[in-house]
Symmetry: C2
Subunit: 371 residues, 2 copies
Amino acid sequence: MPTPPDATSGPSTGPTDGLPPFLRACRGLPGSATDRVPVWFMRQAGRSLPEYREIRGVGSILDAIAEPELSAEITLQPVRRYGVDAAILYSDIVVPAAAIGFGVDVAPGVGPVVERPFASAADLQRLRPLEPEIDTAHVLETVRILVRELTVPLIGFAGAPFTVASYLIEGRPSRTYTRTKALMHGDPQLWHALMERLADMAIASLRSQIDNGAAALQLFDSWAGALAPPDYETFVLPHSQRVFEGVADLGVPRIHFGVGTGELLGLMAAAGADVVGVDWRVPLDVARTRVPAGTPLQGNLDPALCFAPWEVTEAAVRDVLRRNAGNPGHIFNLGHGVMPETDPSVLERIVELVHREGRCDGTLSAEVAAS
Amino acid sequence: MPTPPDATSGPSTGPTDGLPPFLRACRGLPGSATDRVPVWFMRQAGRSLPEYREIRGVGSILDAIAEPELSAEITLQPVRRYGVDAAILYSDIVVPAAAIGFGVDVAPGVGPVVERPFASAADLQRLRPLEPEIDTAHVLETVRILVRELTVPLIGFAGAPFTVASYLIEGRPSRTYTRTKALMHGDPQLWHALMERLADMAIASLRSQIDNGAAALQLFDSWAGALAPPDYETFVLPHSQRVFEGVADLGVPRIHFGVGTGELLGLMAAAGADVVGVDWRVPLDVARTRVPAGTPLQGNLDPALCFAPWEVTEAAVRDVLRRNAGNPGHIFNLGHGVMPETDPSVLERIVELVHREGRCDGTLSAEVAAS
């Protein structure tokens, strides 16, 4: 095993001194062998936690998000219970579109549903610019509460233009994105106009979250993996690029994630992401060959492995750590969101395991090396 | 442009003389520049055809499949209308499991539903060996009718053990395959016992279709792309391998296809497929880097592109042809099944375009080269 670099010298000291592990990994800064690999879970806030179900009540998630104290508490719950290295705001990617009155709700057990889906140029009128301090004042209040109370960095987020567009056009979750692709190919001018508005919306939302104290951001292009790479490049990349550029001056790390994006990882990095999230289908060592050298990666345990016997889960966690050997920039996560039926104690054990056996200097602990 | 090889010499003559374009491409045999690139469409039989809806009636697809004359007619309809180079049997991958009485139906608008999903070792008893001549006599009668009537090769098919297992375990179509993966990881012994029975079932079904005259086969592992490669390798590959070995002596080309299998293409070839089907997410030139040199590929136009203006569809078809330049083994297809709302005239035009502009000697026609 290589000797770990001296923790008192090298890029981990100096201006980055004292950076929390999550933010250090986002910048690809090597720590010492004893620094922990940061970990958080997509969808860690809500869903599977009993303390969440206790306070959440019934009804649309949008109603819960509208209550800052409640949303802050839901955001804090997993940080307390799991000891994760970052908090992610309890919110939803359709919040800005709902806030400007596009007529979108999140139906329990279904997902985003739109009363009058986006279908023609006339619908552009229904997408006025987001004024975050007014339209999503409650979200920003939640952010401010969290920044006061949290001991770890807060991740703000937005839906990438493509994924939000797919909801607005399909009107409900889709498996095929037929209407979305039909609009994209059939009326490129309208498509780009829509994407521009949604990019502006994402920029405004992200900027407001960061202005109020979020320390990092994630742009969710959850369903971009439905596209062939040439279509992604023509119809999506320029707009995601503009979102990343539109927040570049704020200096916080920018994470980019979608499901089933194995063929898009290079393009998603090229969009301007500092960190590329990887779903569980692409082993991290393979993912590394598709992004520029040194790009920090986030991921990528199959969320379904939380339902396996612990020794299987443990081996899979070690496999994720091992496949990242030699690369300091790793944020451990699942390869997609926490599933609702997940036993929280499994997530607790995963955090503990990653903290104990991960090495953020790119070396392998004895347990991981032997796995 | 390279000079096309002399059509009267080389591997396209001799024992393969007179092979239909589809079967020649399945064997990776170069034809002459004027031979056509073969094309067929997954789900070409049924779904979008008005003449299909006219004769199909309502009710479960399993009832329609039980009528040989009707099923043969539905299989023939797209061959007549589109001029495709192969027919695929109108059937369903759950037919064998339904035929032995596992209690599975195909609910219109939903997909396969199972009354009592597979959950424990006791359920193995419900999976007795398939006796095709008895259990699926109607399917074989359909095959025999078709072999008499068809002018193009008939493709028989079966569901791969993983995909059939996922239906039996989940009880209905799933997005996450949580139960399937939980069984796989939680009780590997039971998992492998189940997969062995399903492999036997696929072998018996495929052998019977070929014995009755099918000229090629496709093993559908539609949902294998939900697995991380190491899990595929441990829990799926050996069983799919056994299926391919179990029909190897029959000498017909074996095609292997699943959706979202970009990371699995090499393993799916290694399972013993002669032809690897590729979904639209992986450009064919990229797919070629993941399978052994010379492996014939099938695919891969995004089915959603059938809803685009014709000039967009046309350009995308040419792009598929161009990305396969230099490789004779190409069977044009969509990257997944025909969507129900597809306009049949678009599929007609695609066939005509592929036949006119595709070159099965690996060269590019002027139109494709210029695209």
